[in-house]
């Protein structure tokens, strides 16, 4: 990986929540790299910390949560030149001007529920124009033109009319497009998408995913796509991080994750989802339930549910390299996969 194409490096990020009831290690040592123009998929179930990771990058985690350690190195290109400067986002003041300059202009975010991220009392046009005017040095007239252009780009019918509409007058799919328009209007280098299609119908989801892929190409934009849907990951991601209870358990390119997974959790997850093109008699099940965040099992967090658990070996698994671009947090990963017969070829 040449450094020119690296956009963001997250190194051993830890974000903890200091609550009355106890300490919640929402993100507990996560590392990954996002390349320019590529998509990183972050997949995991509820409580795994994927949303908090995203919010930590943009320094949007509020007390009682805070980043306790780790680095988020952003390779910022200075004014279109090939030169990049390295900026550690964890060191910035979360309410200060530096992070605010980066937010939206360089790194933008879209959310699951567009109903709550669009203001109900402002028109769509007002919100997009505000985003433009705040971050770019343009006048209102030009901002308006850009807004219309952006809405057209995201496939909104009659963009000029949409400028005057309010969020309740748009359908779910259109709201999501409006949010994407608002996020992309400053041409960010990285778009963080936190479950953007989970609340949408499947045909609308297909539209939005197509749209995002198209925009990624046009804008040469990196995407960090957070979801729990493995199908969407297979569609969108180039590289995948699998998270479980605050830790990343596997990191690899998308083909490897689906065809050659190393970590027992990833494997079990893949075997437990029903597929539209296949028949199985019974779905394979991961026994037990996800533990609550206050009582994460000691050692390997997955061990109570792992079919390969061996007490002596699985005490504290490290994130080890398993292949040329493949890491897994499992002490027995090599043993298991050598003899594992279920792998899909």
């Amino acid at each position: 990986m040449d450094n020119q194409s690296t956009l963001l490096e997250v190194k051993d990020l830890k974000t903890h929540f200091f609550l009355d009831e106890g300490l919640v290690r929402a993100v507990d040592g996560v590392s990954f790299t996002i390349q320019r123009g590529k998509t990183l998929g972050v997949v995991g179930e509820s409580g795994c910390g994927k949303s908090i990771t995203a919010r930590s990058i943009l320094r949007m985690v509020r007390p009682p949560g805070q980043i306790v350690s780790g680095e988020i190195i952003y390779h910022r290109r200075t004014n279109g030149s090939a030169q990049t400067e390295l900026l550690d986002l964890t060191k910035l003041d979360p309410t200060g001007p530096e992070i605010r300059a980066i937010r939206w202009k360089n790194i933008a975010m879209i959310f699951q529920e567009p109903m709550t991220s669009l203001s109900p009392v402002h028109t769509i046009g007002d919100q997009i124009i505000e985003a433009i005017v705040t971050h770019l040095d343009v006048g209102k007239k030009e901002a308006r033109d850009r807004a219309i252009e952006m809405l057209r780009r995201v496939g909104m019918p009659q963009p000029t009319k949409i400028l005057e509409r309010y969020r309740h007058q748009l359908s779910g799919g259109m709201r999501q497009r409006a949010m994407i328009a608002m996020a992309l209007v400053c041409n960010p280098e990285l778009l963080i998408a936190d479950e953007p299609t989970t609340a949408l119908d499947v045909t609308t989801q297909a539209q939005i995913l197509e749209l995002m892929k198209g925009l990624q190409e046009d804008f040469h934009m990196a995407i960090m796509f957070i979801t729990h849907d493995l199908g969407v990951i297979a569609e969108m991601a180039d590289e995948v991080v699998v998270m479980y209870l605050g830790k990343e358990v596997e990191l690899a390119d998308v083909d490897t994750i689906f065809y050659n997974p190393g970590h027992p959790y990833t494997k079990a997850l893949l075997r437990s989802i029903p597929r539209i093109d296949e028949e199985v008699d019974k779905l394979e099940v991961i026994k037990g339930t996800v533990p609550d965040p206050y009582s994460i099992p000691a050692g390997c967090a997955f061990h109570p549910r792992c079919p390969y658990y061996v007490p002596e070996k699985c005490a504290s698994p490290e994130f080890v390299k398993v292949g040329s671009h493949h890491w897994a947090r499992c002490a027995r990963v090599a043993e298991i996969n050598g003899s594992f017969a279920h792998m899909r070829q």
Partner: protein, 407 residues
């Protein structure tokens, strides 16, 4: 298609035995919930904790709300035992002790020595040359010890038996000295005693009114929310109409309608009814809102599908769900009632002399000159403020604790 009562039931019982015979084996590995009964006492305690207990635990975290509970308990205890705690009869006046400033007891006597028993200093009189009024100052040359559980002016304890023991007082020096902890008013009556007696009325009016509005609010709000449609429409419009009338003119009109010849007790009752006629509307809206939202909940449908009757659903499913919200709302509406009574009496439209309430006491403070000379006459207002604040914090704490169970 009427089902015979015996047929389906016996069929069901036959099905029952068939099922039992099928001997449900231990479910396969796939989905047995693996967690053992927790050895952790705390986790188990939480798991079997009733929702009420959970609410209490959540409530305990609100320090301010807890403090408010303490404050209110003290207030109500003082009001209940007013005769005992008050050193003076509230009506007894002394021409020679008008507008005495508050006499703070001290632990250091006139000789500068520390005493365990608190003392209060005597008063020296001076005539202000400009206003020709008598000004009282503490005279450090004379002091009187304060005794506890002392004999004082006789009274009837809760109207049951006569006694003359007071919590504290001057004892045999009562004739000479004065113990006006919070000062005295224009007739030389002890403010502290009067405030205590006033607490009785002011604090109890809050409770009685709230009880009346509770009934009205739950019944009408419940009907409105449960049946919906035209009934709901009608009741809501009535509520809005009542709420849109400016309250003070409304109270003035209603209490002016109370015949002045009525004895004070009846008048008191009339005032509580008047106040609850407005207060129920707020409660009714909360109840209606909760009913409307609960009606759509899946567990209500589930209960209906289990064969529970409509009344059973209301009583066993819906009422327990909104009870805690109602209590919180109730607690928040008491301050409004206390303030209303105070305002009414202050304006002379509510209770009147010789009945003592905080509002009546504040009537004395209507004259700006009087207040300038004797600002301690405003102390009943402080009592109102503290009581209202305490109820507000308590209600906030209850409302936060009553939130639907978090995931």
């Amino acid at each position: 298609m009427e089902a015979k009562s015996s047929g389906p039931i016996s069929n069901a019982l036959q099905r029952e035995s068939k099922v039992v015979d099928q001997a449900v084996a231990a479910p396969s590995e796939g989905y047995l919930a693996e967690e053992p009964i927790s050895k952790d006492k705390l986790e188990e305690k939480i798991a079997v904790a009733t929702p009420r207990q959970l609410m209490w635990w959540r409530f305990r975290k609100h320090k301010v709300a807890l403090a408010s509970v303490v404050v209110l308990v003290i207030f109500y205890l003082l009001a209940a035992f007013a005769e005992f705690v008050a050193p003076y009869d509230p009506e007894v006046f002394a021409a020679s002790a008008k507008f005495v400033p508050p006499q703070i007891p001290s632990f250091i006597d006139g000789n500068g020595q520390f005493t365990l028993r608190p003392v209060v200093f005597g008063l020296s009189q001076e005539r202000d040359p400009e206003t020709l009024r008598v000004i009282y100052q503490p005279d450090e040359s004379v002091w009187y010890p304060i005794y506890f559980f002392v004999r004082g002016q006789p009274y009837e304890f809760w109207g049951l038996w006569e006694t003359d023991i007071h919590l504290f007082g001057l004892g045999e020096n009562a004739e000479e000295g004065t113990l006006f902890i919070l000062g005295s008013d224009r007739l030389g009556r002890d403010m502290f005693s009067r405030i205590l007696y006033g607490a009785r009325i002011s604090l109890s009016i809050g409770l009685v009114s709230v009880f009346l509005s509770l009934i009205l609010g739950i019944v009408l709000g419940g009907i409105s929310g449960y049946y919906g449609g035209q009934i709901d429409n009608a009741i809501q419009r009535v509520i809005e109409f009542i709420r849109s009338i400016p309250s003070i003119p409304l109270w003035m009109a209603l209490s002016a309608a109370l015949p002045p010849t009525w004895p004070q007790e009846l008048r008191y009752f009339g005032i509580t009814v008047i106040l609850s006629l407005i207060a129920w509307t707020g409660l009714a809206r909360v109840v209606r809102g909760r009913f409307l939202s609960l009606r759509e909940e899946d567990f209500v449908l589930g209960a209906r599908l289990s064969g529970t009757s409509e009344m059973g659903i209301i009583l066993r499913h819906m009422v327990p769900s909104f009870l805690s919200h109602i209590i919180a709302s109730l607690t928040l509406s008491i301050p409004a009632i206390i303030l209303s009574e105070t305002a009414l009496s202050f304006l002379g439209l509510g209770l009147r002399q010789p009945v003592i309430s905080w509002g009546v006491l504040l009537q004395e403070a209507q004259n700006i000159r009087t207040v300038a000379l004797a600002p301690w006459l405003l102390l009943p207002g402080m009592a109102v403020v503290i009581a209202v604040l305490a109820f507000n914090f308590l209600g906030d704490g209850l409302r936060d604790a009553a939130d639907p169970f978090a995931r």
